[in-house]
């Protein structure tokens, strides 16, 4: 992977009246990765995204996308990025195909190429058979898929998705996730804002946790979870009786990387430092003792715990 970032944002500041929505944010994204902006509503992630796609001028800071500076070359940037907005931003009076024809023209595709790309895009999102119906008759999921088709028609290098599955039913969510994975497999760079923890966890290569306009944490989902040092190794030995468990506990206590051991309903829960070898070493100890295993589970802290740790609050406030 090329080490020059394909997107770089330095010192972004954006104020709306008295509120500072984005407060000195700096980020870098690399080609081919799916980069997530995770944070609650009002955190500044949508504002950040809109600045990256040139729809909003930062009050301070520099943004470079695909080699072009957003301040001077906004038009060039717009030509090489795709945008899937958060709301169903579609024209209900037009058909799906007419949407694609419109965007093909707005992205300056020659007529023949535009037609070809439209057909491909409709096929890709599974709307080919409903393409000539007016969008007023589309379901929410279909509108989203149409937006994806419109966002891809000009072969963008980078795709920006603003809360791609917000408000969608489970089936549509699954479909959108599949599209994102397919695009990633083809090498598309994607920047995605989301406030769904499972989405961030499963789809993103790297995450930026954004809270109150600032960067709270940055890393791969795995790195973020490991940084909490709250990995849990849970063991259920066969035929676990009180004495057996106690023997096992004593044997494991001295193991390198074991922070704490708790007994829980016939299992042992070991709090361990993240390590590649802790599981095998634990099993070695058990084999040495002649203890057989009934169940074993290794869990990293959830992204939810990561979020609370770095921002001090939950991602969804109940009573705000």
């Amino acid at each position: 992977m090329d080490m020059t970032p394909i997107i770089s944002a330095k010192g972004l500041v954006k104020r709306f009246g008295k509120t500072t929505a984005v407060d000195g944010l700096s980020l870098e994204m690399y080609e081919g990765e799916v980069f997530g902006l995770l944070g609650p509503n009002g955190a500044g992630k949508t504002t950040t995204l809109r600045m990256l796609i040139t729809l909003l001028q930062p009050d301070e800071g520099e943004i470079v996308v695909g080699g072009f500076r957003v301040r001077e070359d906004a038009e060039r940037v717009r030509g090489l990025i795709g945008y899937i907005p958060q709301e169903r931003a579609v024209d209900r009076a037009l058909t799906g195909r007419e949407h694609l024809a419109l965007f093909a023209d707005l992205y300056h595709l020659p007529k023949a190429e535009g037609l070809g790309r439209a057909a491909w895009a409709l096929e890709m999102v599974g709307l080919a058979d409903r393409a000539d119906e007016v969008v007023m008759n589309y379901s929410g999921g279909m509108k989203k898929r149409l937006e994806i088709a419109c966002g891809l028609i000009h072969r963008p290098k980078i795709l920006f998705l603003d809360e791609p599955t917000l408000g969608l039913d489970v089936e549509s969510r699954t479909l959108i996730w599949r599209h994102i994975r397919e695009l990633k497999a083809e090498g598309m760079t994607m920047v995605m804002s989301t406030n769904y923890l499972d989405e961030a966890d499963q789809l993103c290569d790297r995450l930026a946790i954004i809270d109150e306009g600032k960067l709270a944490a940055l890393g791969t989902p795995r790195q973020l979870k490991e940084s909490l040092q709250g990995d849990v190794l849970s063991l259920t030995p066969e035929g676990a009786d009180g004495a057996g468990l106690e023997r096992l506990e004593i044997a494991l206590k001295g193991l390198d990387g074991v922070v704490q051991i708790a007994r829980r309903d016939g299992s042992l829960e070991l709090r361990v430092e993240p390590s590649r070898t802790i599981v095998t070493r634990t099993l070695d100890v058990m084999n040495g003792q002649g203890i057989r295993l009934e169940a074993i589970q290794y869990t990293r802290p959830s992204l939810e715990k990561v979020f609370i740790h770095y921002t001090g609050h939950q991602i969804k406030d109940d009573w705000v």
């Binding site: 906004a74 038009e75 931003a89 024209d91 707005l106």
Partner: protein, 267 residues
């Protein structure tokens, strides 16, 4: 390598033209798909002509009205009233686009912002041209034959379009500066009727009370109406040049002002 580039370039339309064409096409597709717009847009002015013309038939007792029939007198007024309505409604689609996020989606594309605006002007101008033709056609069926013939009809269309451009500019500026669409429609409703009464649409300038006459002379509609009326009833007149200049100034002022507002709202 160059030959390939040339071949591809020839297949490509001028980008700006491509943008404007695509967006104007969108307005026409939308219009075609909303039967109500078609009904209102094309039959309402005709209805007005018949309604006003016949209602005020006995009002030819108003001093200053020398037309063979009130319909002939009203034609000019109805054309301009229609232009007023269509022009002021010209910004509505932009308002809706702004509200549902589609405008933002359009602006994320590499288009010149002006292409969006120009497409609106093009659409409204063509629409008002059609409406003016229909009104003249209807009036013709009632026996109104323009004194200046086909050339006069052409000039009537030009006058209508020029007035329409100014009102469309105002509408677009309002659509961009109003926060919600409630305010926009309220304002439109509020200013439309007074504008009509403060013009020579229903009553000629000479018959107005002094204060009203002064206000009406500040209204570009008055000049357009009198010009169209003259072209239908009387004939060619040097005053027409003055009217065209006034309308050009009106357009320039509206376009400059609205351009400033639009540039602030769109980047």
């Amino acid at each position: 390598m160059d030959k390939e580039y040339e071949r591809v370039r020839k297949k490509m339309m001028n980008p700006y033209l491509q943008e404007v064409t695509a967006m104007t096409r969108r307005w026409f597709i939308r219009f075609r798909r909303e039967p109500i717009s078609i009904i209102f847009g094309l039959t309402q002015p005709v209805l007005w002509l018949v309604l006003f013309g016949n209602m005020f038939q006995n009002a030819t007792a108003i001093p200053g009205v020398t037309a063979p029939s009130y319909i002939a007198f009203m034609t000019g007024g109805v054309v301009v009233m229609t232009v007023l309505n269509s022009g002021l409604a010209g910004g509505i689609e932009m308002l809706f686009d702004k509200e549902n996020g589609f405008l933002e989606r359009l602006m994320a594309a590499p288009i010149k912002r002006s292409a969006l605006i120009i497409s609106r002007f093009l659409f409204v101008t063509v629409l008002t041209g059609f409406q003016a033709l229909m009104i003249l056609g209807m009036a013709f069926l009632f026996g109104v034959v323009p004194a200046t013939g086909w050339l006069g009809v052409g000039l009537i269309l030009v006058i209508g379009m020029m007035l329409g451009i100014g009102f469309t500019a105002i509408s677009l500026a309002l659509a961009f500066s109003m926060k919600g669409h409630g305010g926009f429609f309220s304002l439109l409703g509020f200013i439309t009727l007074p504008l009509i009464f403060m013009s020579s649409a229903l009553v000629p300038l000479q018959s107005m009370p002094g204060w009203l006459s002064v206000i009406a002379q500040l209204n570009p509609m008055t000049y357009a109406i009198d010009a169209v009326r003259g072209l239908i009833l009387t004939g060619w007149h040097i005053e027409l040049v003055k009217v065209l200049v006034i309308l050009a100034v009106f357009d320039a002022v509206c376009l400059t002002w609205s351009n400033r507002i639009l540039l602030r709202g769109m980047r």
